[in-house]
Subunit: 239 residues, 2 copies
DNA sequence: ACAAAAGTGTTTTGACTACACCCATGA
DNA sequence: TCATGGGTGTAGTCAAAACACTTTTGT
């Protein structure tokens, strides 16, 4: 199958061979004001015109699946550096109404705060939704989304990947709210503080919040060394 | 693409449409005499003749991916009832030398003891290998295998799925050896016993081992209710 | 002063560890 | 009677839970 692409260098439309009957779809998670959000796109043509769904695309003949996912995300958000992981393949014979198409699901975690400042997002028909705003999506995208949320909930308790949703500098409360939102639980502040600090993952930036109408909290960032260590061998966040 | 299949009812060869450029490959784990094993098949034709690899096959146009995996396993082992889970898709452009083929990896856990008694396995060129006997496999099958082992190690600590490798009736030591082998760790017997019994997952069968040259151990089976409960909501087996 | 969130301290409970020890059975 | 694994008991340690409390800052 031959599809048209926009070349990043020249901006021209080029034609490339892509794989037939296989696509990728990405769940892009963001975190803003204590709420977990997902980035959806509006379908502008075809039988699903006007409905919303996950961003996705085709896999080129000569690129890996991971690369295809990275490319799609880069084209949509302009962000190069994000956390991206394959979920699994979704292949119900009836999932796509116009023929047999298997899709490979991915999910990404982005620092929304960072992204907002930068360029990105020329696609006017892309929009952030909080999880409870998400209604009926195209094809099996609701299934992919709910699977990815389930997966995120598991992963977040085994590796410190959730922190990829936070800005570079953050407070302890922000982390706690993140965990509360993602896992849909209530946490005890004192105990949470102690637990997270004991992991040695956080570096005290010797800075404080500004312009808050309460005692300013210390700002932290991650120690990339410890982060890598904990991500590799896993940590136990049985909060 | 059209491929030949053997119809299960009539035994005749039928032709069916299958998906192009997508296959499935299955890692089948067994457990025997304290050792984790994997079932491999010898490739009898083509450029990989004589080499060993994971059992796999094509996906029919009208079947789900999970079904394809079940079918392949059923054809090979004769076992209907096994634990089967998708791993992920493997899609390096160069993974298959004769063209671009994406494969979807699965892993299965079977009760080898049960299987040995039953029929199954007409394929003469299928053989069990312990993990350290596995050498150079075709394509990227070593990668799929090592990924599945890593995945199994994670899963086994979060849900009681490892028990699918054990026979219907088993002793506490067998479970312990299973965990020791899969996770490659040493465990303390008294502590392990208490921990596993406290989970209430095991049912005392009021039976004992026979013909062992030491004190006979109690036999247990699983409580399917608790098993389901623990599998769904996860358990913490941070042994 | 008050609201709001930051941050500390303390008690209790219960799990996990390490290791000593006794029991049953076939060779 | 010895080897082998089955099975129980216990003291010490450490983490988690629950919750009372003090501190800082803007309005």
């Amino acid at each position: 199958m031959v599809k048209k692409f926009i070349d990043e260098e020249s901006g021209k439309v080029v034609e490339e061979k892509v794989m037939n009957a296989i696509t990728i779809d990405c769940v892009i998670f963001g975190f803003d004001q204590g709420k977990l959000e997902v980035l959806l796109v509006e379908h502008g043509s075809g039988i699903s015109k006007g409905k919303w769904g996950l961003p996705g695309g085709w896999i080129k003949e000569d690129e890996s699946i991971d690369n295809a996912a990275h490319r799609v995300l880069q084209e949509l958000t302009g962000i190069e550096d994000l956390y991206l992981e394959q979920l699994k393949a979704f292949g119900d014979p009836k999932r796509f109404p116009l023929g047999r198409v298997i899709t490979i699901g991915y999910y990404a975690l982005i620092k929304k705060a960072d992204y907002d400042v930068k360029a990105g997002f020329t696609a006017s028909d892309a929009k952030w939704y909080t999880m409870d705003q998400v209604k009926d999506l195209i094809y099996d995208h609701n299934e992919i989304l709910s699977y990815s949320l389930k997966h995120l909930r598991n992963r977040v308790r085994q590796a410190p990947i959730g922190f990829n949703l936070l800005p570079e500098k953050f407070t302890l409360l922000q982390i706690m709210q993140l965990y509360q939102e993602v896992l849909n639980i209530e946490l005890d502040k004192p105990n949470f503080r102690r637990k997270i600090l004991k992991m040695k993952l956080l570096v005290d930036l010797k800075e404080k919040e500004k312009n808050v109408s309460h005692r300013a909290a210390k700002l932290y960032k991650f120690d990339p060394e410890i982060y890598k260590q904990l991500t590799d061998k896993g940590f136990n966040f049985e909060i």
